[in-house]
């Protein structure tokens, strides 16, 4: 059940250049990995909320965690919120990642700010007994590595500048690794080119592939049709907010912008 509520910022801490780790206390709503919240920056000049995926949730206590980049005006306002301040939220939204299957061998691939939503997925998969290998790529400053390691999953790290781990992006690293052992499922979140690569590799190794897609949104609930995602279905554009943000990669059309 979606709720529109005023939450309280519990913490909102910078964990890397331009990257913030925020916990919000709000209404107890049942959420799952891959779902997101609309967070309202407030102020009269900015009308639209910002869609941010859950990095984690303690639903019983109504605590929700978001790790986000202060990139534009709206997220910069979110970054300036001090603990104790009120923040308006609409959650949970979207479909989330599908349920796990018994004995699942999962590869989880994240790039940059696509990494945080995968922490919750990794935790839940590892806790349910899946065999999980995580491939995380960063420009130069890795985040959340200790928490990923604590899930018990195997974690590999890459950086674009080679300052840590594999030199290259997460897809390059995964491709090097993907021949053996085999995976049943590939999950990916990050920039579109990374998602397209992950989908291609998954197809080659005959694994199912689910990707979390990002698109500019307005309403967050499927009413305005602003967050179009191109698909192969009879409906050319589906809604990122209501039909996604997690899609079966087979449904998606990877535009020219996604190549590379």
């Amino acid at each position: 059940m979606k709720r529109y509520f005023d939450g309280i910022v519990h913490r909102n801490k910078r964990i890397a250049p331009g990257v913030f780790d925020m916990t919000v206390a709000g209404e107890a709503v049942a959420a799952r990995p891959g779902q997101f919240a609309m967070l309202y920056p407030g102020g009269d000049s900015r009308l639209l909320p910002r869609p941010i995926s859950f990095c984690g949730a303690d639903e019983k206590n109504g605590l929700y965690r978001f790790v986000y980049q202060a990139a534009g005006g709206g997220t910069t306002l979110l970054a300036a919120l001090e603990p104790g301040r009120t923040i308006r939220a609409l959650a949970p939204l979207g479909n989330g990642f599908p349920e796990t299957r018994p004995g699942e061998r999962a590869a989880i691939i994240g790039g940059g700010l696509g990494v945080p939503p995968l922490l919750w997925l990794t935790r839940s998969r590892a806790a349910s007994g899946a065999e999980v290998s995580v491939f995380l790529g960063f420009r130069s400053d890795p985040i959340l590595l200790r928490e990923f390691a604590e899930t018990g999953a195997g974690v590999s790290v890459s950086t674009d500048d080679g300052s840590m781990g594999f030199h290259g992006n997460a897809a390059d690293m995964f491709e090097n690794f993907a021949d053996e052992p085999a995976f049943d499922t590939v999950y990916a979140c990050g920039p579109k080119p990374l998602l397209a690569r992950a989908a291609g590799i998954a197809e080659k190794i005959r694994a199912a592939c689910y990707v979390s897609v990002e698109e500019r949104m307005a309403c967050g609930v499927g009413a305005c049709y602003c967050c179009a995602v191109e698909t192969r279905g009879e409906t050319k554009y589906r809604k990122c907010c209501a039909d996604g943000p997690v899609f079966d990669a087979k449904e998606l059309v990877w535009g020219a912008g996604a190549v590379g």
């Binding site: 529109y4 309202y40 009308l47 639209l48 500019r216 309403c219 609930v221 409906t235």
Partner: protein, 300 residues
């Protein structure tokens, strides 16, 4: 207690607040977040004869006090509207206005005809969408074509017909008169203003379609002025909209001459905005000793 009801071309609304087309789908998406039965009316997203795919993304950009969109009237067509949305709307507790769009006069008329038994209380003719190449604004900026398409749809429509006007014209009262001449039972205005935003880092427009329609409080003074001018010039009632965020904003439109008002972009900031505005209007009436909105309508 104040009587908030209003009448629009013979259709009574329990209060003057209607959701604006394209911002509320067919209401279902908001049903768990707001009480639809407390709305005066719901205007659906544009419905065409065949499914329309819409424009490539990005389709939305935020601007100072507003939003730009170029959705392009994506919709699954009238057949699926009748099967999936119309039954829900019939039980929603608010008046239902179905917004109709087409590429040609015949297509507009065919949609109106297909909606005869849909349960819609009124139809709204969309000749003002700035985001489609054929139809939409191409009709709404030429008085002769406005008269022609209004007349054709009026002949086929079983319900009273609202014609939605574009602000992207030199003289909106001329277009309003053309719609009246074609048989419009009411007018609604304004649709979005054409606008553009550029991403200076990428050196290209933010919207894939380059231009889009500007909505939100940034456009409200333009909308109030146009509603004021059209309400004075027209014989039929006017539904006023454009950037309404609060009940006070809505009262401005009513004082400018609007019989009812529509709330759009505000819903993106607060799913309950339209219902809150309806409550605020009632409070304003009570506080100011107004028994009926007709006491202040067009008072300016």
């Amino acid at each position: 207690m104040a009587d908030t009801s209003v009448s629009l071309a013979g259709v009574t609304f329990k209060n003057p607040v209607i959701t604006a087309s394209g911002t509320f789908a067919s209401g279902r998406e908001y049903a768990e977040l707001t009480d639809l039965s407390r709305l005066g009316g719901i205007t659906t997203k544009g419905v065409s004869m065949e499914p329309w795919p819409g424009n490539p993304p990005p389709r939305v950009a935020e601007t100072y006090g507003g939003t730009l969109n170029s959705v392009g009237l994506q919709n699954p067509g009238v057949e699926r509207f009748l099967a999936e949305d119309a039954p829900f709307l019939r039980g929603c507790g608010a008046r239902v206005i179905v917004n109709i769009c087409g590429h040609t006069v015949d297509e507009y008329a065919a949609v109106a005809e297909a909606l005869a038994d849909s349960g819609a209380d009124m139809l709204e003719l969309n000749i003002s969408c700035p985001n489609v190449k054929r139809g939409g604004i191409a009709f709404g900026t030429d008085p002769e074509r406005v008269r022609e398409v209004t007349e054709a749809v009026r002949k086929k429509a079983r319900q009273p017909l609202i014609v939605k006007l574009s602000p992207n014209v030199t003289d909106i009262t001329e277009i309003a008169r053309a719609a009246e001449d074609g048989g419009a039972d009411a007018l609604s205005l304004i649709n979005t203003l054409l606008g553009m935003k550029i991403d200076i880092r990428r050196r290209r427009p933010v919207l894939a379609n380059a231009v889009g329609g500007l909505s939100g409080p940034a456009i409200m003074p333009v909308a109030v002025r146009m509603v004021w001018a059209v309400a004075k010039a027209a014989r039929v009632p006017v539904v006023g909209m454009g950037g309404i965020m609060t009940a006070r904003d809505a009262i401005e439109f009513i004082m400018a001459g609007a019989a009812a008002i529509a709330v759009g972009t505000a819903t993106f900031r607060d799913p309950n905005a339209a219902v809150s505005i309806a409550e605020g209007i009632e409070r304003f009436m009570d506080e100011n000793g107004i028994n009926s909105l007709s006491e202040i309508r067009g008072i300016v």
